[in-house]
C-alpha cells in the first residue's frame, strides 16, 4: 500500500515558489503607467508584507506607518510555521534555488561560520534606523531585487531583445521583417518593458546583484543562511514557532537529509534547527525510511544558541549607536546639494532618507525616466535614493505615480491637484548660455513647454545685438518664481547643447502657489 507520505510536499513548495516569482515579476511589470494615472494593483505588496522594512522604517520614522502593517501577517505566520517565507515565498530565495544547477558549489562550504552575521546585520540595521542612519534598503532582499531589476536587468532585457529586431528591421527583406516585427510586437506587449530606459549606477547595482548569486559558489543559499537580515528577523521569530521538523529514531544515519538541506539546518545531533530550516521539506520527501516528519509540536529540550557571542552583539549595538553620529557632523547637514531634486511628495529630506528603502519602485514607474539613483549627492547614506535628473527626464505635470508606488510613504501619495502645486525645485536661467540673452538668437522652447496653467516662464522683448552685430528685438525668457514648481521640462527641452541654459535646482521652502 502506498502511504500518504508519497505525496511530495516539496513539489507543492516548488509550485508556491514559482507562483510567487511569477507574481513578483507580473507586479514588477505592472509598475508602469497603464492608461490612467491610477495604478490598478498594489504593485508594492511584497514590501508591505516585509517585517524588516516595517520594523526599521517605523524605528527610523518613530511613527506607525499603516502602509507596512500588512507585515504583521508574515510575523504571525512565521510564529506558526517558522521560516516558511524564505523557502516558499521569497522571490530572491527562489531565484537562487532556480540558479542552483548553474552555479557549482565548493565542497566544503562555510560550515556555518557566518550564520550569525545575519543577526548582527539585523542588529546594526535596526539600531542604525533608530539613530537615524538608513541601512535597510541596501540589505532588504526585495529592495535589492526590485532595484537591480529596475536599474539594470530590465533596461538590459529591452536592449538585448530589441537590438536584433531593430537590426532586422533595418536590413532584412520585407518578408523577414514582417515575421520579426510580429514577434517583436508580441514580446513588447507581454514580456518587455514599455521602452528603453537608462539609469545611473547601473554597474554598481549589477555588481551587488551578481555578488549575491556568486556567493552561491561557497554554499547553497549563502545569502539566506548568512546575510539576509529579513531572514535573520524571521529566524529569530522561528525560535518560537509551532511547526517543527523532527528526525525520529528510525533514522539509519544515511545523512541524505543533511546533504540535501539547502540551509544546513540539521545539526550534528540530527536536530532540525528551526531558525535555519526554511521548510523546503526536501529532507522529508527524500528520507528513505521516512524518519523525517514535521509536526505542530515544540520540542521539550532547549534550542542550541544562536551562535552570536555577547561580545559581537554588544560591539554591533555599540557601532549601531556610535556610527550614525559621525554622519551628523558632516558639511552636508549645513549645505544641501542643490542638484538633489527629490520626487514630488517626498517628505522632508532627513526623514525622507530614513524612510526611503531604496527599492527603486519610483524610478521604475516614472514614465519619463526622470528618477535616478543618487550616488553621493545626499551623502554616503543617500546612495540609491531617487533624484530627478531633468536633462534625462522631466516630472510629468499630470502624473502622481511615484507616490502611489512608494511602499513606505517616503514619497507621499498626492492627489493630482496637490501634486501640481508641489514645488520640487526652481528654475534659473544661465544668461551666458541662453540663446536670446547670450547670442541674440530667438528661442522660446522653455516657455512653450512650461506646464503650469499660468506659465512660470514668460517672455519679454529686449533690444540685443544678434550674431551679425545688428540690433534686433528679441523675446527673452524670465521666471515668475511663485508659479514655478521645478518640474524640469524646461531644462529637459532646452536646445542648448550639453548643459542646459535653464537649470532646475532644489528648493526646500514650502510656497503657496496662487493657482
Amino acid at each position: 500500500m502506498r502511504s500518504r507520505r508519497n505525496f511530495s510536499l516539496s513539489s507543492l513548495r516548488r509550485l508556491s515558489q514559482l507562483f510567487f516569482v511569477i507574481l513578483f515579476l507580473i507586479l514588477f511589470r505592472k509598475t508602469d503607467y497603464a492608461g490612467t494615472d491610477q495604478l490598478p494593483y498594489a504593485v508594492n505588496i511584497f514590501f508591505r508584507l516585509d517585517p524588516l522594512v516595517a520594523a526599521s522604517v517605523m524605528l527610523g520614522a518613530e511613527v506607525i506607518i499603516t502602509l507596512v502593517l500588512y507585515s504583521v501577517i508574515v510575523v504571525f505566520l512565521t510564529l506558526l510555521f517558522g521560516r516558511f517565507f524564505c523557502g516558499w515565498v521569497c522571490p530572491l530565495g527562489s531565484l537562487l534555488d532556480l540558479c542552483h544547477g548553474l552555479i557549482p558549489q565548493q565542497k566544503k562550504g562555510s560550515r556555518g561560520r557566518f550564520k550569525s552575521w545575519k543577526y548582527l546585520l539585523l542588529t546594526l540595521i535596526l539600531t542604525f534606523a533608530f539613530f537615524g542612519l538608513p541601512l535597510v534598503g541596501y540589505f532588504d532582499p526585495f529592495s535589492i531585487l526590485v532595484r537591480s531589476m529596475t536599474i539594470v536587468l530590465d533596461p538590459f532585457l529591452y536592449w538585448i531583445v530589441s537590438t536584433p529586431f531593430d537590426f532586422l528591421y533595418k536590413v532584412a527583406p520585407g518578408w523577414i521583417t514582417k515575421a520579426s516585427e510580429l514577434i517583436y510586437a508580441q514580446l513588447k506587449q507581454f514580456i518587455l518593458p514599455y521602452n528603453q530606459k537608462v539609469y545611473t549606477l547601473t554597474s554598481m547595482s549589477l555588481i551587488i546583484f551578481l555578488l549575491i548569486f556568486a556567493l552561491e559558489k561557497v554554499e547553497r543559499r549563502f545569502w539566506c543562511r548568512n546575510l539576509c537580515p529579513l531572514g535573520g528577523l524571521l529566524a529569530l521569530l522561528s525560535r518560537f514557532s509551532f511547526l517543527r521538523g523532527y528526525i525520529q529514531e528510525t533514522c539509519n544515519d544515511c545523512q541524505s537529509c543533511n546533504k540535501v538541506c539547502r540551509m544546513e539546518a540539521i545539526d550534528s545531533q540530527m536536530r532540525i534547527i528551526p531558525e535555519d530550516c526554511n521548510l523546503c521539506l526536501d529532507c522529508r520527501d527524500l528520507c528513505l525510511n521516512k524518519s523525517v516528519s514535521f509536526k505542530f509540536k515544540r520540542p521539550s529540550e532547549k534550542l542550541p544558541s544562536l551562535g552570536v557571542s555577547r561580545r559581537a552583539f554588544v560591539g554591533t549595538l555599540f557601532a549601531g549607536i556610535i556610527l550614525p553620529a559621525f554622519f551628523k557632523v558632516r558639511a552636508d547637514t549645513k549645505m544641501a546639494n542643490p542638484s538633489l531634486i527629490r520626487p514630488p511628495g517626498a517628505i522632508n529630506e532627513r526623514k525622507f532618507l530614513n524612510r526611503c528603502i531604496r527599492c527603486g519602485g519610483c524610478m521604475k514607474v516614472c514614465p519619463t525616466n526622470a528618477l535616478h539613483p543618487s550616488l553621493f549627492e545626499a551623502g554616503a547614506e543617500g546612495i540609491f535614493a531617487p533624484r530627478l535628473i531633468p536633462r534625462i527626464g522631466f516630472c510629468e505635470f499630470n502624473c502622481t505615480l511615484c507616490g502611489q508606488v512608494c511602499p513606505t510613504g517616503a514619497i507621499n501619495r498626492l492627489v493630482l491637484k496637490e501634486k501640481q502645486k508641489t514645488v520640487i525645485g526652481t528654475t534659473y536661467f544661465d544668461k551666458n548660455r541662453c540663446l536670446p540673452y547670450a547670442k541674440g538668437i530667438p528661442c522660446i522652447v522653455c516657455e512653450e513647454h512650461c506646464p503650469t496653467p499660468d506659465k512660470a516662464i514668460k517672455l519679454r522683448e529686449a533690444q540685443v545685438f544678434n550674431p551679425e552685430g545688428k540690433t534686433v528685438t528679441i523675446k527673452q525668457p524670465y521666471l515668475i518664481d511663485r508659479f514655478c514648481i521645478g518640474c524640469g521640462i524646461c531644462e529637459n527641452k532646452c536646445p542648448v547643447e550639453g548643459t542646459a541654459a535653464v537649470i532646475v535646482l532644489k528648493k526646500s521652502e514650502k510656497v503657496n502657489l496662487p493657482f
Binding site: Y33, G35, Y194, P495
Partner: protein
C-alpha cells in the same frame, strides 16, 4: 570549421553588413508642388460629428479629397498631456468624424499619429484621441505611437534655413495626408496653426527648429504637402499657449477652417484671433516660399 576559418567568416560578414548599411539610409527627394486652388471654407456649429463634413462640402466633400483605396494619414495635434476641454490638442470628436468620413470615402487605411511632447501614452490617452479613433472599431484605422526607427532623413531642396531633416516614413508615404491642427497662441511665432503642425512628423531635436522657427517651419512644409488642412478652432487657446492648461485661457468658438492651401488656412484663422495674417512670421515665410496664398483678398472664403 576551425578557428581561423571562423574568424575569416566573421570578418567577411561583419564587413559586408557594415558596408551595406549606408545604402539603406536613403535620402528621399522632396515631393513636387501640387497645383492649389485657393478655396477656403469655414463652418461653425456645436455638433462636431457633422461639422467636419459640413466644412468640407464647399471643397467638394470628402470624396473630392480622399480617393478610394488610398492610404490616408491624419495628423492631429496630440502633443500635450491635456484634456480636450483645455484645447491644447485637436478635439477628439473632430478627429473621429474626419476618420469616419475618410473610411466612408473608401480609404484602404487610415493612420492617426503625432510625435508628442509629453509622455506619448499620456498624450494619446488624455487627449481622448486614441480612444475616439479606436471606438470606430474599424480594422483599417490605427492610432499608433511613433516608432523611432521610422524617421528617415529627407533633403529639403527649397529650404532657406535647413537643408535636411528627419521625417516620419508613414507621413511621407501616405497617398493622402490630412493636416488637422488646433489653433492656439504660441510664444514665438504668435500662433500655432497648420504650418506649425508639421513639427509632429519630424524627428531629431526639435528644439533646434525653434532657433529660427518661422523660416524653418516653412522649410519643413516644402516636404509634405497636405491634401487638406483642417484647422480645429472649436476651442482656441488665446493666452499661455501652446500647452495651455487653464480653461480661463480657452475660448470656445466651435469653428472649423478647411482648405487645400495650408498658408491660406493659417492666414484666415489668424483673423479669428483678431490679428492680421502678416502678424504670423511662419505664414509670411511659407508664402514667400510659394507654399500658398496669404492675401485674404485672393482667397475665396465660403462660410457655411
Amino acid at each position: 570549421m576551425d578557428r581561423r576559418e571562423f574568424l575569416k567568416k566573421l570578418g567577411r560578414w561583419t564587413g559586408s553588413i557594415s558596408f551595406s548599411l549606408p545604402i539603406l539610409q536613403q535620402v528621399v527627394p522632396s515631393a513636387k508642388a501640387e497645383v492649389r486652388t485657393t478655396l477656403l471654407s469655414c463652418a461653425e456649429g456645436k455638433d462636431y460629428s457633422t461639422l467636419v463634413s459640413k466644412v468640407l462640402d464647399p471643397l467638394g466633400g470628402i470624396t473630392a479629397l480622399v480617393k478610394k483605396d488610398e492610404r490616408v494619414v491624419i495628423k492631429p495635434n496630440i502633443a500635450w498631456d491635456r484634456t480636450p476641454e483645455q484645447g491644447a490638442n485637436t478635439h477628439p470628436e473632430i478627429v473621429k468624424s474626419l476618420v469616419a468620413i475618410c473610411l466612408e470615402a473608401g480609404a484602404s487605411q487610415v493612420m492617426v499619429f503625432d510625435r508628442p511632447v509629453n509622455e506619448e501614452r499620456r498624450c494619446y490617452a488624455t487627449s481622448g484621441i486614441k480612444a475616439a479613433v479606436e471606438s470606430l472599431g474599424d480594422r483599417r484605422v490605427s492610432c499608433p505611437y511613433i516608432d523611432q526607427r521610422k524617421f528617415i532623413p529627407v533633403r529639403i531642396d527649397k529650404g532657406k534655413s535647413i537643408t535636411e531633416w528627419e521625417f516620419y516614413k508613414d507621413a511621407l508615404e501616405a497617398d493622402c495626408y490630412i493636416n488637422v491642427p488646433v489653433a492656439k497662441q504660441h510664444g514665438s511665432i504668435g500662433l500655432s496653426l497648420g504650418l506649425k503642425n508639421i513639427m509632429g512628423v519630424i524627428g531629431g531635436r526639435r528644439g533646434f527648429i525653434h532657433l529660427s522657427l518661422a523660416q524653418r517651419i516653412a522649410d519643413l512644409n516644402t516636404v509634405i504637402k497636405p491634401r487638406l488642412t483642417l484647422i480645429d478652432a472649436t476651442r482656441i487657446i488665446f493666452r499661455n499657449g501652446p500647452s495651455g492648461g487653464s480653461l480661463n485661457d480657452v475660448k470656445v468658438i466651435n469653428t472649423l477652417i478647411a482648405s487645400r492651401d495650408t498658408v491660406a488656412a493659417d492666414a484666415y484663422t489668424t483673423t479669428l484671433f483678431q490679428m492680421a495674417p502678416e502678424a504670423i512670421d511662419s505664414t509670411i515665410a511659407a508664402y514667400q516660399l510659394g507654399l500658398g496664398e496669404m492675401d485674404l483678398k485672393k482667397i475665396k472664403i465660403i462660410r457655411v
